[in-house]
Symmetry: C2
Amino acid sequence: MSELAHQQCIACRRDAPRVSVEEINELKPAIPEWQLVERHGIQQLERLYTFSDFRQALEFTCRVGELAEQAGHHPALLTEWGRVTVTWWTHKIHGLHRNDFIMAARTDELIER
Amino acid sequence: MSELAHQQCIACRRDAPRVSVEEINELKPAIPEWQLVERHGIQQLERLYTFSDFRQALEFTCRVGELAEQAGHHPALLTEWGRVTVTWWTHKIHGLHRNDFIMAARTDELIER
């Protein structure tokens, strides 16, 4: 398990700080396959995972969903034939929290296992 | 079961015709909650379903996924906290086939049951 994935997600309040540029520079190398994207002014982490058919994609969606339920933090999951796009951000703060980087690292581990 | 949902999906070839305006006018009233949308020049059918939490949304995604596997025809499924956006179209013909209207009606029936 990577060090980042091993960290605890902390409860996130509305006044919690978004990650700073320095924190992004620190955290991002641990999740090299993820892209920083901005939608409607909200920074998000996004990764496309590919599979050989629809069923495998759907099964991955379900596993990420279970991970999300356990953590109490939920992504957007776009399931298509042979691909799942996972997007993490923190709704309460309209941007990225350290938790999102932890969840991205944990999502990667579902594949690596 | 609505009449449209009861119809059989037929195997779709690359040279199959897209639905005509007349067919859309005939089929659309059976699925009133669905929107006709166009993305990258491709007509699609889309509906947002809402739920009271993430787990219910994820369970619905899995049920639509099973329906898709049975039919051999697959949608895009965007799962978020309390909502699932289902999009049907036919990749082979870059647009809408009668099958998509049948699958939209069957998706509605998953909720109505």
